[in-house]
């Protein structure tokens, strides 16, 4: 990673990648300092999608704010909803019924699959394979259909409410989930055939954008990026929520911490998510779906932090209450934003083409970075 200077003292080329660029996944602006095609440094400029979500929270009641969190990481809206609900439930000391927790697990795992599928498709597209993205979207569509049947929206689902769920599962919910799992496992094999052993894919991803465990910890990077560096850290195991301790699953890890390992980790997570969904659907208990929450919800004065393992990493919500119906302050710890910090470190010494691959492999959603 040494940034050796070239013999000729040429000016470095400053390339503005974005905010309008086909592969910055939204409106990220990266100022690249180039020596030929070699990257000497990368500065991220963010904020093009800033909507002041945290400020909006201060002017909405707890229930009213729930749909807004879906719009941060819109690819994994269900996970966002879960994180927010958990934080507020901790604050208000609300007991969530078993059934609701189980449905929450199923939906968030489905959402993890959908989010990883979108990552895989766009990542492959960035690296130049234009077909996986369509296959991925096909499978993702099936997930979105389940969401739509369950809660009436496909992307910004607003599936969970404080205290549990609003909607009871629909008639064929269990059947749909099982059918999806069976079908999806076959499809993952196809992606593996398309990419995992493909020499061009391996060449493009192996040894690219290495971020070792120490650097991951220094930057606070979480999620698949951390696990690809060999750290077995998954909040679902480390501090279980929603009854994750009841399910039997593994934490896939790799050692290299490069783009290929991150790819492998996420591909493994597909299988683990499918495992969790199968177990959860089979053990779906009967009972109420919503705990006791008064219509005018006023949590006691205090503060609460709840974090979950979102598809992209640790997603945390910190809520401060002054006893009124509206949060006094709400702070989000978005995984994309934290993981994006490592971009500069990962990019140094790479080629322009690798920057694209690295942005893809961090798996950022700009709605969450800028909030």
């Amino acid at each position: 990673m040494a940034t050796s200077t070239t013999f000729l003292d040429t000016n470095e080329l400053v390339l503005n990648m974005g905010p309008q660029h086909p592969s910055t996944h939204g409106v990220l602006r990266v100022i690249l300092k180039l020596d030929g095609e070699k990257v000497m440094g990368a500065d991220c400029v963010i904020g093009y999608l800033h909507r002041g979500v945290e400020k909006i929270a201060e002017n909405r009641t707890y229930q009213q704010f729930a749909p807004y969190v879906d719009r941060m990481d819109y690819v994994a809206a269900v996970s966002n909803g879960l994180g927010y609900c958990l934080a507020v439930e901790t604050l208000g000391g609300i007991e969530v019924p078993e059934r609701a927790q189980c449905v929450r697990v199923i939906l968030t795992e489905l959402n993890r699959i959908a989010s990883h599928l979108l990552w895989l498709g766009t990542h492959a597209l960035d690296i130049g394979a234009m077909t996986p993205v369509f296959y991925c979207f096909r499978e993702r569509e099936e997930v979105l259909k389940i969401f739509e049947k369950y809660c009436g929206a496909r992307l910004t689902t607003h599936a969970f409410r404080i205290g549990g769920l609003q909607y009871e599962t629909y008639d064929t919910f269990e059947k749909d989930c099982h059918a999806f799992c069976d079908w999806f496992e076959k499809k993952v094999v196809e992606y593996e055939e398309l990419l995992t052993t493909n020499r061009i894919w391996v060449g493009r991803t192996k040894g690219v954008g290495i971020l070792d465990a120490e650097a991951c910890k220094a930057y606070g990077v979480t999620g698949p990026v951390l696990r690809a560096a060999g750290v077995e850290w998954d909040l679902r195991k480390a501090q279980p929520y929603c009854g994750y301790e009841k399910y039997d699953f593994d934490i896939p890890t790799c050692a290299g911490g490069d783009t290929y390992d991150r790819y492998i980790v996420r591909m493994q997570e597909f299988h683990q998510s499918v495992r969790i969904i199968r177990q959860a659907v089979d053990s779906l208990p009967e009972g109420p779906i919503k705990g006791r929450v008064s219509k005018v919800f006023k949590p006691p004065v205090g503060e609460a932090y709840a974090s979950i393992e979102a598809p992209k990493g640790e997603l945390g919500y910190y809520v401060v209450s002054d006893g009124s119906t509206q949060p006094f302050r709400l702070r989000v710890r978005p995984p994309s934003f934290v993981n994006l910090q490592a971009l500069d470190e990962m990019c140094r010494g790479c080629l322009v083409a690798d920057v694209v691959a690295i942005i893809g492999t961090i798996d950022i959603v700009l709605g969450e970075v800028d909030r």
């Binding site: 009436g152 929206a153 910004t156 609003q166 493909n198």
Partner: protein, 151 residues
């Protein structure tokens, strides 16, 4: 040795080619030809709002309680009501719903105590003007009239 032979004969690449070749079957085509074909819309879909009327009497079910307006995070619902002198009950006069600001979270329909306000399966909400997306009571009761596509 086996690995080397595999590399020489491009086994990894041919495997990928086989996947794309297999997927060429016309029956596997997944896209819909909207608007020629109508998309799948679930029963619970949260689309265009509707103000339900009694099926027999055509009278509105809304009791003008204003709960939907209070529940709405965007405060886009305005309920106008008048107290009827004879029956001493509030009666709905106007009801506006600004669809352009709506994020279809469904909190209003959850709040409605009499199932008068409902989000329906209609999803074609485009309008040529900004005024066109602010729906009044009449429009909410009739529901949107999606354009029929001939081609």
């Amino acid at each position: 040795m086996k690995e080397l032979l595999k590399a020489i004969f491009f086994v990894d690449l041919i495997k990928g080619l086989a996947v794309t070749f297999r997927n060429q079957k016309p029956s596997l085509i997944y896209t819909e030809q909207y608007p020629k074909e109508r998309p799948f819309v679930a029963e619970r879909y949260r689309g265009a709002p509707r103000l339900n009327v009694h099926p027999d009497t055509d009278e509105t079910l809304c009791i003008a309680c204003n709960l939907c307006a209070l529940a709405c995070p965007e405060q886009l619902i305005v309920v106008g009501a008048e107290r009827n002198k004879e029956t001493r009950r509030k009666e709905l006069t106007t009801f506006t719903y600004d669809v352009s600001r709506c994020m279809f979270c469904g909190l209003c329909e959850d709040a409605c105590p009499v199932d008068a306000l409902e989000l329906t399966q209609d999803f074609e909400l485009a309008s040529y003007t900004r005024e066109g997306v602010i729906w009044d009571r009449q429009m909410l009761e009739e529901g949107p009239l999606p354009t029929e596509y001939k081609h």
